[in-house]
Symmetry: C2
Subunit: 565 residues, 2 copies
């Protein structure tokens, strides 16, 4: 017997659900309602229209209603907005935005995939500002039109994915760009020590980067910040965040979770047995901290949609919870993250005991001309060594390392599993001992208690308090730039100069990336020293950490100069 | 109490073992013997010297004896060859190649890491040919010197890693290059259907590629093949393979395994409790087929070496067996492989029941200018769905997909695990449903019995026997190139033209990559057809498969033309 399925929303989740429903049956009727003029567009690619990387807005649209009809026999109704759900009669009221007329449509099963909408707070003066948000093709074309002609002064409010990708593409297009982020850092998928690399990159590309300052008002041509600062702006892009589009759900008394997103069960079913929901409108279960959170990403939306179509057709589905993996390009850098950050564990008070290691190996064999430093941070549970998360930033291939860690997390793997992985190696692609193996070794050494370490964010207070810091790099490296007050004992001279190292006080050793100082720490321990700490992340990590913070706070530098080789 | 460790061989395994031994103790004496003039060089990078990508041969050497002494207090003796082991007195006899004098050195523990040596078969006339092999920096400089001046005619014998990388770098340097491979295909880390892409790439770059023909003799200026073919050659590079350097072991009555490599236990210890061996000289245990095999790769050698240093120092080590992961660049393509190939399962008669899926999605969102087709093959066990191996070939990022599969294999994961992975996605890096997820979905559909498929290597016989082949691509695609005799029913017209599809005979459907034909197969099944097969790998896979085979065998083409878009 033919059944009738209605799908609200025609982007990642909705389109996937509909196509999968069709594959289960030729008879069933499948209708997608989309209030905008396009279905199945690449929302993640929208910012790339601003730089011209995507030349034509039509390229952003991957499928049209005609193709859906012809290839899948799916009835796609664009510019049709579902206004309400009548759960009793199992029907929806739809407004055809082209004719202005309302009509109703019944369903056997209803799938909600309305997505999330940009947050637009009621900031004083917002109605007079030339403000844009980015959600769909229409939005990005509108913004593109507003930017035509001579380069403009553009302020982007919000340093999340969309904000940062928009900043990059606006800058590439030649505009004068300010980025305003209320929190002390952009991109909370990255910890504060890691994100400074991107702060610097954005700064180095001539973007006026303002963090830790909030928009308090707009006037016709300025963004006014809480600090009193005024940023002249021809155009403002609001990229503060998205919120689940829950109006339909609320109107129909469907449950919301404590995050404010829709609550669904393990099969993505709402509290109404005939209504499912997927994508940015729902909250998902964390595999890592056993609670619900919002994960507005395209991949999970598509998987949930497929699962719903399968469940409707009697199949058992597999909901293992989510960890969250993401990546973005920020000018010449790539930055990726999976699982939990140290910052999230702290701020959300998860109460998980953890440690981190930070390493900065080359992403390829050093003699390959394309080899670049890879900043890698691994977060793991104490006492188990279970991997909780990882972050990678570099100019080369960061994604594969984070994808591998994401895979290990899904198998509940530990730092010991990382050591054992057999990853592809040839000089143009990596190193024989990959970053991931290397991080596993370092973490295992720490967990075993072979040596102690401290993180780059502690170095300033050590320097200021006059702690013993020993720089084991070669003299020429030390001369280029070093921590003020650090003593230089190159690893190559260490064994002849042990008398210069205090035996009772704590001693903090560092080199460029942490590897030579690790060898120094072990050598000294084997010679009877026992109050030694390696600086995880080394001088490179310290430089990046201090550089941008100095720039924005005008603090007294703790380095003689900056060195980012 | 100070102990004395001798290490034979100073490249990947030996250098790693020595450095790790030092980190365990400052007191112990550590000596490395290396018969060549260099230690710790990047043997995997040697071919890149030939094209000038590595400009200076000194760059290939990462550490020198002075640095080992200063940084690690390790005694490195280059041009010192260990001639024999006296197990009774626990000593070795060493020849100092600089002075010609022999001396002995005692040990508490001995670590053998002598590597593998290039195979040089006794082919008639080999003594008169201008033959080179590639093992170390001296070899590559010698070969480089022989190639100086005007471009040369160079024949490379052997299509393994070193052979192919050498061919590429010689071609980049402007030489006229012939590659001779005795087997019907190069690179046995790839199955025959996949490797044709690389055969074509090598052919397209103007290399004279000869497969399935063996060198029978040399004369002064020719390589003479079994087919009678003569290849004029100024220079010949022998890259037939490597064999474990087992002379020392044999001389000391240390056990060899059935592969001819040294036999070691789970701790990499030989049958002498004071002698360990690591790297290319040993055979390793397969995690996948439960037997020993040779795995001459740098990564495993380094890990084994570290393990040996730990075991000597009383630590428990973790030997989980090996799967083998590898990658190489072949002109504009990257090709990677992990685990078992279908070819190996067959030829080694492992008796494992398996199936494969082949998909060809884009490696990034299609509208990104750098998006390229990714040829992906997944091999999994029947009935369990356990992943056995995977291969990826493309112009973009193939390594991350194979690294993820390698990780899944190490956790004994299945095709269902692949569906669930949360991999990083943003348009410049991938697609929301990554290749790996996608392969998991397809494999799960096949294993569930949702549809049947056949592989590209079966298409010729189907075409020749007049089977019903339906091409569901659009008409314009069909016109460009198609299988001779295939009927074109575009997916977009399928539901209106079902009368044209025979109900009783088997019907084989294909599109460009396999995705539209999958939808067509399911639609037809839902309409009552039941003898349908999807062609895994689609028209792209068929084109690559047939193209090069046609070129070398002069078979009658089964395609109207070739289309590699």
């Amino acid at each position: 017997m033919s059944r009738k399925y209605l799908v609200v929303g025609g982007v990642a989740g909705g389109a996937s659900a509909a196509a999968r429903l069709r594959r289960h049956s030729e008879e069933d009727q499948v209708v997608i309602f989309e209030k905008g003029p396009h279905v199945s567009f690449s929302n993640c690619s929208l910012p790339y229209y601003l730089s011209g990387l995507v030349e034509n807005s039509e390229e952003l649209v991957m499928m049209n209603p005609e193709k859906f009809k012809k290839q899948y026999n799916i009835d796609v109704r664009t510019e049709n907005e579902v206004l309400s759900i009548d759960r009793k009669s199992k029907s929806v009221t739809v407004k055809d935005l082209k004719t202005g007329k309302n009509y109703t449509e019944t369903y056997d099963k209803l799938i909600l995939s309305p997505g999330g909408k940009p947050i637009v707070p009621p900031i004083p003066g917002i109605e007079n500002a030339n403000c844009y948000t980015i959600r769909n093709v229409v939005d990005i074309v509108k913004l593109g039109d507003a930017l035509k002609g001579a380069p403009k002064k553009v302020s982007v409010i919000g340093g999340g994915f969309i904000g940062i990708e928009t900043v990059e593409n606006l800058k590439e297009a030649g505009h004068s760009v300010t980025l305003v982020e209320a929190m002390p850092q952009i991109l909370r998928i990255l910890d504060e020590d890691m994100v400074q690399i991107l702060h610097k990159e954005i700064y180095d590309h001539g973007v006026n980067l303002i963090v830790g300052d909030k928009v308090s008002a707009f006037d016709k041509s300025n963004v006014i910040l809480e600090s009193g600062r005024r940023v002249e702006s021809d155009v403002v892009v609001l990229a503060i965040g998205v919120q689940p589009e829950t109006d339909l759900a609320k109107g129909a008394n469907l449950d919301l979770g404590k995050t404010g997103a829709m609550k669904v069960d393990q099969n993505f079913k709402t509290n109404d047995p005939d209504i499912y929901a997927v994508g940015d409108v729902i909250e998902v279960y964390s595999y890592l901290f056993n609670d619900y959170f919002k994960l507005p990403l395209a991949g999970p939306a598509q998987k949930q949609a497929r699962g719903v179509a399968d469940h409707i057709n009697g199949m058992q589905i597999d909901n293992r919870g989510y960890i969250g993996s993401s990546i973005l390009k920020v000018f010449d850098y790539n930055a990726a993250s999976t699982g939990l950050t140290a910052g999230f564990i702290e701020h959300a008070k998860l109460g998980i005991d953890y440690d981190c290691v930070r390493i900065i190996p080359g992403d390829k064999v050093g003699l390959m001309p394309s080899s670049r430093a890879l900043h890698f941070k691994l977060i793991y549970e104490i006492p188990t060594g279970r991997i909780l998360g990882a972050q990678a930033i570099g100019k080369g291939n960061v994604d594969k390392r984070i994808d591998v860690i994401a895979t290990v997390i899904k198998f509940n793997g530990t730092i010991h599993d990382l050591k054992d992985l057999e990853l592809c190696y040839a000089p143009p692609f990596g190193t024989a001992k990959d970053v991931v193996n290397f991080a596993g070794y370092v973490a295992a050494n720490i967990l075993k208690g072979d040596f102690k370490h401290i993180h780059v964010n502690k170095v300033r207070s050590l320097q200021e308090s006059g702690a013993t810091i020993i720089d084991v790099r070669e003299e020429s490296e030390y001369e280029e730039s070093h921590i003020i007050g650090a003593k230089n004992i190159p690893l190559s001279q260490l064994r002849d100069r042990i008398d210069e190292i205090p035996k009772n006080n704590p001693v903090y050793l560092h080199c460029r990336s942490g590897q030579r100082s690790y060898n120094a720490v072990l050598a000294l321990q084997n010679l009877g020293f026992d109050n030694l700490f390696n600086v995880s992340g080394g001088f490179m990590g310290i430089s990046f950490y201090e550089f941008y913070i100095d720039k924005i706070t005008n603090r007294k530098p703790i380095l003689t100069d900056y060195n980012f080789d």
